[in-house]
Each structure stands twice: as structure tokens, then as C-alpha cells.
Symmetry: C2
Subunit: 434 residues, 2 copies
């Protein structure tokens, strides 16, 4: 019986040309984080189910995740997100220097229906600041996000950073008499507002929230046009969550974070956010969805220790970001033809193989990457391999080369040939533009 | 209830200082592969159980792995190794250019007892050549391995590359009348020879293999001193597997792979090897175990397609390699104190914050990484943070700096101070040795 040639639905399988694109994206993200002094760390993929039941909410931990019992009877989960593990590590570390500024590239898993931009196994980028209570942390996170988008040459209009505040939303709702349970439900409804047509959302809202005056409050709140909306400012003028947002908005303006704006409808889906929440939206028609979501969480670390540490952070989906970049043509074309090696070393006959291998090793010692013929095919087939692998320089080793110690470097892009003695190959390559 | 602060037993949790060491090791491995033109790819962690039942053997797939049934009734496994997925990808790719030279850094999982150097979640390095029937492929793999060890400044004596041949072992055993089932058992016994005291192994051998003449054959074979052992050369002189090994031994000598030697006892544990098999052993007393194991597999790709493609490859355990490097002091000391940023920007009071932030962003634009105060603590606390994070240069922004546009760069290692106008910070840093 022949086995299937496909991976399981929604799993991440990247051939080298796709991996190069991901590596490029990951490299840019790492660079943006490093510019601010973030350090990388790693947490396990496999975690106790309890951790996520306690932190991420029951729906995510139970229904939307891969969970199972191992041979030792432990209830395990393949992490659907990273933050609970991060909080545990911060709590467990004895000697951390605050502020902790950490980033990671976790593989995460969700048992969900797959669609464009949503997979069951996905690589994420997480970045968190812990131990800073003031809005300076949020501001730095927004600067990182804007630097990431700038680094890809994305411009506002293609994307938007949108933010609001869990405390603001809770404040509005509790002023209107929502119980905690109703509030939970209201957040879920608000969170879906941009994921369906407005008319459909309104209909659904009035179905979900029986009390029509409460439903109207949700509608008014979710439809606020900016922080200065008269309805919102009248209702919340004295509320610290509102003043905080005004202050933050001002900080963003002064720091030049032009791509960020207040959007009352942003509440984010995770249970543990307590303050400002935000997302990066692809605002183009094709992929209208969030690339990244995050917020402030005040109570996560305290679940593991007496010490309480406030944090702000985000998770960014590398796949969603890739789709965004592809839509706007922001992935460099030459990634598709990046050469695996600098030189292809072709070998005429087996008589020259030892000489060629010795030369290849010397070049590798000098940090020149060399793919050498391994297949003992004729020269024309070897040239074809070099061409299809897009290796720019080809050097043929035949009896003349062995005798003379001179080789000819052929530039397969330009047709140029340079004859050179072996000790000067490196210089010749530099001059040929490698 | 407070949640546990520990990850599950055997899981991979790396704080930044440990992650830096892993990144260093991974970087060296990638560099060695790139020198030969290997390209990176990724396969899923979660795979159909069938794939591994068919490929890796029942014990590994069932008893020593994390396997479970998902919500859709699929039997899944968290991969215990990468090679079956690699073979599937090679079979599935329509347009591959042979030889395929691929490398990957997969997370793998085994449900086993943990001990020093053996974890349940571990990062591996895999490198494979597919589509080359001749020994040129094995030779290149050995060159990569030797380059890896050279790159870490490891010397023969600390480690050894040991090789033998599955075909040779099968040949010896079938000449002595072993049935296929007995052969399987014999391989398992031979594989354990270096993992226990010799005396204990001999006792166990005679218990496992009832027929004492067969047990003696195993003992003689596993104790051969080199390819020229008279017992082996007499028995196998005419066998192609023996000639192949003689030829390979000669190729290794001529290519200068000094760290490699024939060891009849090397058979490797995986079912799918068909030709030359090899391992890199830590030969020091402390961690006597294999860092890496591999071999030629002729039938893996054919399970997925009509086309058959021969492959040679290895899996190398990053954790085992790390222990090896630590034992011999081969991990650079400064990794433990690698600074997260080039400059720490201290801020006197909030009045200078906007100025400082603007400066920080300009420096980051110029590829200088900057950690800026976020906590609004006094200067002495800010200096303490910079010191504990081992950030070498500190720049304080106070009223004078804002007024004059001149800043003082302090080298915290040497005590040197340089006063400079802001547009020339980059040059000043270069001159100070950053």
C-alpha cells in the first residue's frame, strides 16, 4: 500500500523555496525586536492542559486545541498560544532583570477548520515586556510593530494598528448595568463585529443580547467614531480608563506612530487581557483580518507566584503576515531564486575527483559555499544541475586544470569567464561581483 | 490554587542565556551545511501514526512516542524523528532537482525516561542527500560532520565518527544461518554493545540468542578490530558489502576524514537503513553516547511513489552536542554575557523622555540597538539595569543633553567617556570598539 504523499490538513510543510520566504520574514521580525533589546527564549510545545484551562479560556483550551492523555495519564495540550508559558517562565526565574523584554517564535496548534491564512500548525512571533506598569511599555510595543511594518515597506492604508481598552469596555458596560457574565458575552459579540457584514452582526447582536437597551449600548460603543465621540466622552469623561486612552493617544502622536488609531470595537478574544488591547489589521480587501493581536495582562504571572508582574505583549501570525506581504508585493522577488551555493564545481572524470574535492574543501574553509558534483554525470548534465539550482558560478575541473593549477570561473548570469590560479579564486569572485 | 512553575518533565524550556547557546550551536550547524549547498525545509510535528509505523518500526512509533486520536478520529503521532516526513516530501515534490541536499532543525518527541542528554522534547539537526547512489554522498556527509566538529574546535579523541554497513552485518549473519527475525534481534543486541559494560553485554547476548554458535558469531563480528580483521576478511572477502567498505575507507583516507573509523558494532537502531550506517560518538568518559546517527536508506521514498530515490542522511541531537561541547569547554564564554542591546539610554526625568525616545528611534534606524528606560526609575536604578543586562554603553539624557544636542557615551567596561554631538554617535561607537 502506498502511503499518502500529503501531510495532515492544516500542517506546516515548507519546501526550501517557501522556507526561504519564512526565514526572510522571521529575520525581519527578529531584527525589529533586537533593535529594542528583546532577547529570545523558548517554551515547550507540549504543556499541561490545566495551564491553558486556567489562562486562555475553556473554549480555546478544550474545543479548539489538540489535547490528549499521555501514557502516564497526564492531560496534555499542544499549546494554542504562548503567553501562559511565558508568564510561568517569568514567575519561575529567580534572577530576572526587569523590565523583562522577551521574544520567541513558537510553533502553535489549534484544532480548527482551516482556511486561507488559518492553519492547524502555525509559527507565531511573540514579543512581551514584563515589569513595566506605565504606558511606556505599550508605546514601545507599538513602535516595534510600526518598525516591523516599515521594515517590510508596508504603508499605513495597507494596514492599521487599532487599539482600545478592556477597562474602557468594561467601564461602559458596567455603567449600563451589565453583569460579569453578560459582559463576557458582550466582548465575544464585539470581537466579531469586523468579521461579518455589519447588518448581519446587528441582527446577531439583538439575538444574543436579549435586553434591547443593553444591545443598543453595545452597538453605540462598538460604533464610536474615535475617542472624542460625544457619546463616549460624555459617558466616560471621569473614568481613568478613558483618561488613560487619551494620554496614550497623545503619546502615540508625539512618537510618530501614525499607523495607530483608537477603535472601540477592539477587545481581542483572550480572557486574560486587563488593559489596553490592540491588533494589526490587514485593511486591504483581500485578507481583511488581524495579523497580530495583543494587550496588557496584569494577573498572569501572579497565578504562579506571590510576586505580581504586569505584562504587555502580542502574538503575530507569520502565515497571516506572509499573505499580507504577498498581497502587496512586499516579498523580494529574488528570494525565489536564492542560490544554495556560490560555486558549482563540475568534475570531468573520476580522475579529477580527488583534486576537485580538495579544492572544494579549501574554498569552503574560506567561507565560499560549494556544491560539487556527486552524481558522476557528464558535464552537460552537471551544467544543467547548476543552472536549475541557480548557482551563479561554475568551475569545471578537468585534466588541464589539474595539470596547470589554473581554473576558469564562468558567471552563468553574464557569460563572463575569468581564468585564475587557485589561490586567487576568492579575489576573482569578489571582482566578478559575488 | 497556584499552578506549577515547572514545565512537564523532559520538555524544552530555554531562558535567554540558554537560548543563546542553542542559537550558537544551530548557527554553526547551519553554516556547515550551507558550505556544501544544503537548503533548509520544514515538515510538520504532527503526523499520521501510519507513516511512522511503516517506517521507523513499531517500538518507536507505538511505545516510545506521543500518539493519540484527534477530535476527527485520526491516529496521530508527534514525530519521534524526521526522516519519514522528508522521504514523503521528496516523493511529493514534482520538480525537484537531484541531488536533493536538504537540512532541517525539527523539534522531535519521544515518550521515554529522561536522563542527562535525553529529553522528551528535543531539537534535532537533520541533513540528507537524496538521488545519489554512489559513495560520494556518504563521503560528503562525513565531510559535513567533520566540518561541524572542526567548527567547534573539537578534536579527534574527544569524538569519533564510526561507521559500518547494514549490508555487511546482514551478510555476516546470513552466512551463519540467521533467519530474518533472528537478524532483527541480533541487530538490536549489537546496537546495545557500547551502551553497557562488556561483561554484562556478553551475558545478555547469550541469554537473548539461544543458539550458542550464533551468539558466538555475533560476538566475533561485534568485536572485529577493523576492516582487516582476519576473521572478517576471510568470511566476507568476496562480498560486495565488504568491498564497498574497503573502497569507502580508502575514500575517507584520501579526503582527510581522520576522525572516521570502521566499527563493526555500529548498526543503528532504525529499521530503514540499508547500506552504510554511522554515528558520531562522544568518546570522553562523561557522556559516552552518540551525538548523531545516520545511514543510507534505499527504500523510503519508494513507499510514496513509483520513482525510487536512494538517500543518505543523519539526525544529530542538539542537546547531546551541547553536553559534549560543555564537557570539553568548547562553548565560547562570552555567550553567557552577550548584551541584548548596544546602548542603554537612561532618562533623567519625564521632561527629557520625548527627546530620548526620538534619539533612540534614530539610532535604531541606523542599526544600533537601544534599550531605553521604560520604568521611570531614578538614574542609579537605570544604571543598575544596564549593568545587570551587560549593556556596554550607557548614554544619559538630561536637560543639558536636550539643550546642547551633545551626549556622553560611557563605556561601562573601560570607564571611557566620549562626548559627541548626536549625528556622530555611530562613528563614536565604532571608534570605541563596538
Amino acid at each position: 500500500m502506498a502511503l499518502s504523499r500529503k501531510p495532515l490538513k492544516g500542517m506546516r510543510e515548507l519546501f526550501p523555496e517557501e522556507k526561504r520566504v519564512e526565514d526572510y520574514i522571521v529575520g525581519q521580525l527578529r531584527k525589529a525586536g533586537s533593535a529594542y533589546g528583546f532577547e529570545t527564549y523558548e517554551a515547550p510545545v507540549l504543556e499541561p492542559l490545566d495551564l491553558f484551562l486556567a489562562k486562555s479560556g475553556r473554549e480555546l483550551a478544550m474545543d479548539q486545541s489538540y489535547n490528549f492523555t499521555d501514557k502516564g495519564g497526564r492531560n496534555l495540550i499542544m499549546r494554542p498560544e504562548l503567553t501562559p508559558s511565558t508568564a510561568r517562565m517569568v514567575a519561575a526565574a529567580g534572577e530576572l532583570i526587569f523590565p523583562v523584554k522577551w521574544m520567541s517564535f513558537p510553533l502553535c496548534y489549534r484544532y480548527e477548520n482551516t482556511q486561507r491564512g488559518r492553519a492547524r500548525e502555525f509559527l507565531q512571533f511573540n514579543l512581551d515586556i514584563l515589569g513595566v506598569d506605565g504606558l511606556e511599555a505599550e508605546l514601545e510595543i507599538f513602535l516595534v510593530l510600526q518598525r516591523i511594518m516599515d521594515g517590510f515597506s508596508a504603508v499605513p492604508g495597507q494596514y492599521a494598528i487599532r487599539y482600545s481598552s478592556r477597562r474602557l469596555a468594561s467601564g461602559v458596560l458596567s455603567k449600563s448595568g451589565f453583569t460579569p457574565l453578560e459582559m463576557q458575552k458582550a466582548f465575544a459579540v464585539i470581537d466579531k463585529k469586523d468579521k461579518m457584514p455589519l447588518e448581519k452582526w446587528e441582527k446577531w447582536l439583538y439575538e444574543e443580547i436579549a435586553d434591547s437597551s443593553k444591545a443598543e449600548t453595545i452597538m453605540k460603543f462598538a460604533s464610536c467614531e474615535g475617542l472624542n465621540s460625544s457619546w463616549l466622552s460624555k459617558l466616560m469623561a471621569e473614568d481613568p480608563a478613558y483618561s488613560e486612552l487619551l494620554k496614550f493617544s497623545n503619546m502615540l502622536d508625539r512618537a510618530g506612530v501614525d499607523s495607530a488609531s483608537f477603535e472601540s470595537g477592539v477587545v481581542r478574544g483572550l480572557d486574560y487581557y486587563t488593559g489596553i488591547v490592540f491588533e494589526v489589521m490587514d485593511t486591504g480587501g483581500e485578507n481583511r483580518r488581524s495579523i497580530c493581536g495583543g494587550g496588557r495582562y496584569d494577573d498572569l504571572v501572579g497565578m504562579f507566584s506571590k510576586q505580581n508582574v504586569s505584562g504587555v505583549g502580542f502574538g503575530l501570525g507569520i502565515l497571516t503576515l506572509k499573505l499580507f506581504l504577498q498581497t502587496y508585493g512586499l516579498i523580494p522577488d529574488d528570494l525565489a531564486r536564492l542560490h544554495p551555493a556560490d560555486i558549482f564545481l563540475a568534475v570531468c572524470t573520476d580522475d579529477q575527483r580527488e583534486f576537485a574535492l580538495n579544492l572544494a574543501e579549501r574554498l569552503r574553509d574560506a567561507d565560499i559555499s560549494v556544491e560539487m558534483d556527486l552524481s558522476r554525470r557528464n558535464l552537460s548534465k552537471q551544467f544543467k544541475i547548476a543552472d536549475r539550482k541557480a548557482i551563479r558560478y561554475v568551475v569545471v575541473i578537468g585534466p588541464d586544470e589539474v595539470d596547470s593549477g589554473y581554473v576558469t570561473i564562468r558567471d552563468m548570469n553574464t557569460g563572463e569567464r575569468v581564468k585564475i590560479d587557485i589561490p586567487h579564486i576568492r579575489e576573482a569572485l569578489s571582482m566578478m561581483g559575488n
